[in-house]
Structure formats: structure tokens, C-alpha cells
Point group: C3
Chain length 358, copies 3
């Protein structure tokens, strides 16, 4: 179908892939954000993303489109995970990757390994809450604010940006004003007396302001994620006060995923100059609907504020599927518009380079 050279994509948010072969249960457990196959839900292949794997990933493993899941997995096992990774990362046609290494219940490929498989440079993103929990474990409440600022400054040279997972913890209703030292100490104290897990609006906000001090871009998980999420608290509009307060600093803030609040996120990208959006995860998660979702986010979001991310996690298939579906969706959205080629280049790669590799 695509006869011209595919447009290389800069994936500004993804994760590594597993370093082992997977049986059917193991593969299905990683296929969607919904976890393992269940009594009621049955096979995870009966989802848009599952059907898309059979259609679009099978040929990369030398199989015909729409093979049964069993055959697909047998061939996958036969090739072995290393070869599968190499094939899908290569097929994705990427120009760069920003890798979030902060969530690894099992060892995943490193950014360097992922980049090698993709044939493209890979960069690290620092997960703020993970860094902060490390600091908190070794300090007092009184030492937390300075300790975490020092740690973030120390990590900065090794990363190209930061990520906040406030959406998964205390939610995105963060204060607009920069928290004061006493507030941070009190919140750290509450946290230390509790589980030591960062889930406090004051601490999330403090981390973001401290991250912004480094001048590096800050990503927020917003919208759709796994079952740990309270989705209503991940509406990016909850960040409005904070985004308004951060805007004068001019440091890029990137709203990841955003679905099903992507139209709201598009508004934020229009309203605040340093705010960017993507529809990562929904791209392959809602396979067959990517173009519609992308069209919706661009209703208000300037085309200069849209980036590509896969949010691929654990399965190499995600890297390939997300890229393939996004590329087609982007072509459909820009079809017939003036300057379509220039704009496609910005969305695919140019804007991400401006943001992460200035």
C-alpha cells in the first residue's frame, strides 16, 4: 500500500521490551493495558490491538496476515525474542527514541539495546517519582526538598527529559503555585510516616517545578493507562492551573496519551505555548481508529504541538504497530492540507528534536 519511503518517527515516549520468550499467557498479559486473559474477557487477542497484531505483525515474522494467534506465537517462539525484537524495532522505522526506564517489574532491554535494534539513537527519560522515592528512603523530611533537587540536578546530564506519574498516584489536580519549603517538608513527613510512596499533590508539584529548573522538558502521564489508574483523575484539564503557572518559564511540557481527553489536551496545547500533546498508547491500543483519534486531537492542537509516541511496553510488536498505524493516520489527517509534507515532518520528527535535542 505505502509505496513511498516510510516517514521515520521520533518516538518520544516508550519503554523497553522483555528479554525472554513468551508463552501465550505471558504474551496476552502484556498485549493490552488490561492485564492477563480473564474468565470473562477471554483471550486478549479479541481486542483491536490483538487483531492488529495478527494482521500487521504476522508478515514481519514471515506469516500471512490474520494467522491464528497460536500460529503467530509459535513462529514468534521459533524466532526467539532477540530476533523478534530486532525485526519489529527495525520495521518501526524510527529516527530516535526517548525511553522511560522507570517501570520494570522485570528486566527490559536498555535504551542502548533498544536503540541498537531500532538503528536509531535512544535517550533516557528520568521518572520523577522514582527518583524522589529513592531520595526519601535515605533522608529525613527536612532534607527531602534539597536532597531531591540535588539528585535531579545530578541525573540531568544523563537524561533528555523527565516524566511525572502523578496521574497514577495523587491525580493531576496539582496546585498552580510552586510549593514552599515548609509545605514540601510537611508533605515529605506525611509520606515518610506512611508508605514512603509519593502520592501527594504537593510533592508531585514540587518535583515538576524542580524538574523545570533543569530546563529539560517534562512529560506527564495523562489519560488512558492500566487498571491502577483512576482515569477521571488523569484528565489533563486538572493540570490547567499548573500549566498556566509553568508557561512563563517556557520549558516544554508534554501531555502523554491524553485519550479519551485528547480534545481537552488539544485545547491546552493551543492555549499554552510550551504545552505539547500526543496520543501514545491509543495509537495501537485502538488500532483501526488511530486516524480518527489523531484528527480529534488536532481539532484544536496546533500541528506544531503534536508529537509521536508509542508508549510501547514489553512487547516489540507495540513499537512496530504504533509506528505503522500512526504513520498511516498522520497521512490521512494531513491529506489534502497545504504544506502537508512539511507538517508531517514536524509531527514525525522535527518537533521532538526541537524539544528534546535543542
Amino acid at each position: 500500500m505505502r509505496v513511498t519511503e516510510p516517514l521515520a518517527l521520533f518516538d518520544h515516549h516508550c519503554h523497553g521490551v522483555v528479554r525472554r520468550d513468551l508463552d501465550r499467557a505471558g504474551f496476552e498479559a502484556l498485549l493490552t493495558e488490561g492485564g492477563a486473559a480473564g474468565r470473562w474477557g477471554g483471550s486478549r487477542f479479541d481486542t483491536r490491538v490483538g487483531l492488529a497484531v495478527r494482521r500487521w505483525c504476522a508478515p514481519v515474522l514471515d506469516l500471512p496476515p490474520d494467522v491464528p494467534a497460536g500460529e503467530y506465537l509459535a513462529r514468534r517462539a521459533e524466532l526467539g525474542y532477540a530476533e523478534v525484537t530486532r525485526r519489529f524495532l527495525g520495521a518501526a522505522v524510527l529516527s530516535g527514541l526517548c525511553v522511560d526506564t522507570g517501570y520494570e517489574p522485570e528486566p527490559l532491554t536498555s535504551p542502548a539495546e533498544l536503540g541498537a535494534a531500532a538503528g536509531a539513537p535512544a535517550y533516557r527519560i528520568g521518572r520523577l517519582e522514582t527518583i524522589a522515592e529513592g531520595v526519601l528512603a535515605g533522608t529525613s523530611a527536612a532534607g527531602f526538598a534539597a536532597g531531591v533537587a540535588d539528585r535531579i540536578a545530578a541525573v540531568a546530564p544523563d537524561v533528555v527529559g523527565w516524566k511525572s506519574i502523578a496521574a497514577y498516584r495523587g491525580g493531576l489536580a496539582l496546585p498552580g503555585a510552586r510549593p514552599g519549603a515548609a509545605e514540601v517538608t510537611a508533605a515529605a513527613d506525611r509520606c515518610l510516616r506512611g508508605t514512603g510512596r509519593i502520592a501527594d499533590p504537593v510533592l508531585h508539584a514540587y518535583l515538576v517545578w524542580t524538574a523545570v529548573d533543569t530546563g529539560l522538558p517534562v512529560q506527564f502521564h495523562t489519560g488512558f493507562g492500566d487498571a491502577d489508574l483512576d482515569l477521571a483523575r488523569a484528565d489533563p484539564l486538572l493540570l490547567t492551573d499548573l500549566l498556566r503557572a509553568l508557561a512563563p518559564a517556557g520549558v516544554p511540557v508534554l501531555l502523554l496519551h491524553t485519550y479519551p481527553y485528547h480534545r481537552q489536551a488539544g485545547y491546552l496545547a493551543l492555549a499554552y505555548d510550551p504545552v505539547f500533546v500526543d496520543v501514545g498508547l491509543a495509537g495501537h491500543g485502538a488500532a483501526g481508529r488511530t486516524a480518527e483519534i489523531l484528527a480529534e486531537v488536532t481539532e484544536l492542537a496546533p500541528l506544531t504541538k503534536l508529537l509521536y509516541s508509542s508508549d510501547a511496553y514489553a512487547l516489540a510488536e507495540h513499537h512496530h504497530l504504533a509506528a505503522l498505524l500512526y504513520r498511516d493516520a498522520l497521512a490521512a489527517v494531513l491529506d489534502g492540507l497545504p504544506d502537508a509534507e512539511r507538517l508531517a515532518g514536524l509531527v514525525a520528527d522535527g518537533t521532538a528534536r526541537r524539544v528534546y535535542l535543542p
Copy 2:
């Protein structure tokens, strides 16, 4: 257009139809969720559902498509409500019906009558708040918890599932934890001192937990309904804590309607194994847009978690229209996907049978 045998649908949520002939005002008052024709809104035929009645229902009454409303209603009266019911229920091509008999400001056809007209078995759904209000009227606050549990257990053999209308009362922001006995008694006491109408999060939640104890599936009204509703309090995401708490029990929970929060509902169906979704009411209510709405709910909802419901109420036309539009929409959504026929069978009938007739 449809040359093959129509796919029989299992309607897992509907109501009976009126047992009388209707004049124009009477028909229009039942046509939409918005109530009677009004000074500003004018005729209820000037809605998507009204236009669809003229197009798709007229031929069932031997009229050409798009007849004026007056001609349509004259023919309807000429045939009489019994014949009209028989024709539309037959034209719907159903394999089964779950009938909510809990809202009947006037006598509607019984499940048995509805099933006879449809030529398909009809089952009863027990409306939890109606049952509880009956119990509350004859007991003390202290006797409520046990009384309602006894009553629900007694009704269980006569129904295939339960329905909560918390969305119409206290809203869907229900507590995640199972309410304790003292909490329930206190809430029942407040209710008895008030109107005796159940509209308290503790009581709604208690009814749901008690219903789940029976092992029978529990439906929730969510999203779109009539003008009694505060739609924002019917967002199914408000159920997140409760759904997470109920999930381990493995009893099916069915989110009805869901529009315009159907994408959010799709997320819940992906995230929690026993959670299912439909787009009942929006199917015919938004005639001409059913395929788009169905496509949106399946962006995240596994195809194994989607059911058909009409939410047909009072007018036999709703039963036919909802089925016809859903069938076409489902075909459009599955068009070209692998295993489309198998998946269509699950959505149309198979999944509902697993849930309600195990």
C-alpha cells in the same frame, strides 16, 4: 440491502411497550428521552430517532420510507397497538430479551408478552432500588439490611440479573468498600426520616454488594437518560473504586448506555475482567450515528465485553430500530477484521448468554 439472514440479537436491557393506541401527542411524548413536544422544540419527529422512525419503521407498517409523521401515525392507529407490537418485535429479530419491569408509570407488556411478540425467550431483571423501597416501607432502619438481603435472595430465582439506578438518584460516586451494618442502618434511618426514596451512596452500594452475593449479574444505568438525570453524575468512571472492589468476586457488572462517556466505559471494560459495556439507547437515539458510537466504545473495550441492548421503552418502534441500526453498525465496525463472523456472534448473542444464562 442486507441480503443475508439477519443476525439475531440478544437484547440484554429493554422495557415493555404500551398497551394502548397513541395519538400524536402521546406518541411523541414517548419517542425520545426529552418528553413531550414543546413550545421551542416542536415536534419530536425532528430528531434523529424521529426521522429514523419515518424511514425504517414505515415499511414495517406497509408504508413507503419517509412518509409524513401524520400518515405514519394514522396507519399505526389503523393497525392497532397489538399488531404494531407484533410486527416490530418480530422485525427486530431477537434471540432473547432481558426486561426491566421496574419503571411502569402505566401498564406495559409483560416480559412474557414481549417475548411472545418477539418469538424469543424473555427474562426478568430485578430493579434493586424498587425492591429496597418496598422493604423499607415495611421495616425499621435496623431491619433494613437483613430484610433487603432476604428479599433479594427470595427474588433471585425469578430474575436473571439486577439493575441499579443509582445514576438517577445519588449518582455513581459510590464507595469502594462494602458498607458495614451500622453504616447501612444509619443510612436507612436517614432515608426513612426523609422521603423513603433510596438516594444514598451507602444504600446504593449495599444493594449492589447484596446483589453480587446472589452470583447474578448486576447492571448499572450509566450515561444518557431522561431529564431526571444529572448526566455528570452518571459518568461510569465514578464507579471506578467500586468496580475495582467488586472485580475479585468475578460477578459480571454491565454498564448500560454509557454515552457520552462510552469511551470511558470502554476503558473500564478493558481494565476489569467482569465489566461489560453497551451503548443502549444511543443506538436508536442517535440514529445515523450508531456505527461511529459503537466504533468509539470498541476503541478500548475488548470485543468480548460488548453486548447489545436497545433500552427500548414504551414504543415497539424502539425495539425494531435499535436492532436494525445496531446490526448495521456492528457489521460496519467489524468489517474487514479477522474473525469478524465469530466476533459478531459474541457481541450479538454469545456473550449475553454466557453472562445471563450460564
Copy 3:
């Protein structure tokens, strides 16, 4: 493309246009709701509305479609703002305009001038908060309630309706009950002790009830607007209690913009007889997507409850673009429906006349 006579539109909510020539920075600053071109966002021409200006407005200035922005602006300057205004307002093909004169950081064309350029009658809308702030500046808290009622009654003969900008101030979560005199006085007192800027639910609600007393229609800004907005507080569902309370009065209430909450607004228009909706601003703001957005609002909104507005502001291009895109979108939405021509006439002009010129 459009071979038949264009359908004249009654624009029930728009603003005047600037009375000066604009350089590129000045033009871009007015092109979207997002303000001037920025470091990260770059040129505002890289938005759907910017691309649409190049495509659809260029021919009105005798240029080919898709000219570069620089050429477009050079030609615009060459013609001069007066001629540009004349051309675009003429090209819009309007049958009437309701002009909100309440927001003019710089002098804009008057309703009379706008109407003259359009060749159609122009009417005034009174902005409630602006009127109230004028009264508040010259009275005591105790005199506010009566003073503002007198002022609104005095202004009524000069306007065809009112507009509330509560969405930009205290948000749309307004009380359902009509505020009592003591409440209003207390709120006015708080306001006078503060900035004198009306941003209090009690005052917003009082203004609306007082406006309804005149019998003239009341518009609400809802949904999408500029960066001053907290979009989540502009969800029209927050008005549910107030709309329910106002409905018996039978005075039209018009929900402007509504995007991205337009499906929710459609529900309100179905549920409450005097409630109307539009998708102003999103029409040209989301150029290329207008038909989809319009289709979504009509999923539930009766076709008798939909109006046209541009929310054109400052740039004459907005008046033309909004009309052109809406006309095409409306044709697409009604395509193939029974009575399409009659319904198009209502949406385009007839309903607005019933509401504003009874």
C-alpha cells in the same frame, strides 16, 4: 463545488472586527484562541484554522488557494481592512447577526457597521457581567440587586438577548434556586471588598434570573474559549440544576460553543425544552472537522434546537470561514435525511428568528 444558491445563515453570536490593518504578528495574534505566535508553537498559520484561511479566504482576496501566509497578508494589507471586511462579510452570506459588544480591548466595528458590510440586519446582545460591573462601580452592596435589575430593564429595549460569561469567571456550577436578596447583597459586598470583578456563583445566577425576567433569550458561554478559561469549569452539564429551574419560565437559553462538551450539550437540548445549542468557534477553529463535530452535537440535540454562530472575533476571515464551513457541514449532516431542506432552513435561520425576533 456548491452550485446552488448558498443558504443564508443567521449568526446568533459574533463580535466585531478590527478597524486597522494588521501586520503578520498582529494577524496571527487574532487568528486562534491561543494568542500570539510563540517560541514553541511557531506560526499560528500551522493550525487547522490557519490552513483554512490560506485555502478558503485567499480566493476572496483574488488569490489562488493555499498561497503562502506572507502573500496572503500582503494582499490583505494592499486591499485595506475596510475592503477586506466588506468582502468577507459579504462572502459569508448572512441573513442576520447578533453581536456581542462586551469584549473590546480595542475598538471593533459596531453592529451597524458589521451589518452594513454583511448586507443584513445586526442586533445587539447585552453582556450581563459587564452591565453588572458598571452598576456595582456606582452603588453599594445593598443597592446592587435593585440597581442591576433596573439597568437590565433599561437596556432591554436595545438588545435582542443577553450573554453570561460565568464560564470565564466563577465557572458554570451555578445554584439551581433563584438567589434571595440577602444572598445577593452579601455576594455583592464580597465583590466590592475585592476587585469589583463579578466572579461569584450567586451573582452570575442572579444576573441570569434577572435577565430571564425580561423575557429575552440568555446565552451562556460554555466549552472552548481562550487561555483565561478553566475549560473543565465550562462544561455545560454544570448548568443542569439551573437549566432545570429555568425551564418552566420558557425563556430560551442558548449554550454557545459547547466543544468539547457538545455531546453533553446535545443532551441538555433534548432534555429541556427552552435549551438550544451551537458549536460556534469550533466551526472554523477546527476547520476540516466541522461536519464531524456538528454530527456529534445532533446525536441527541433535536434539529429544532441547533443554531448557527460563528463566534467570529476581530478578523473578518472568521465570519466567512465559519459560515462556509458550517454550511458544508450542515449539508453533510442532513444529507439523505427526510425533510433535509426544511430542517436546514430551521438550523440556518428559522430557529434563530423564532428565538431572537419573535
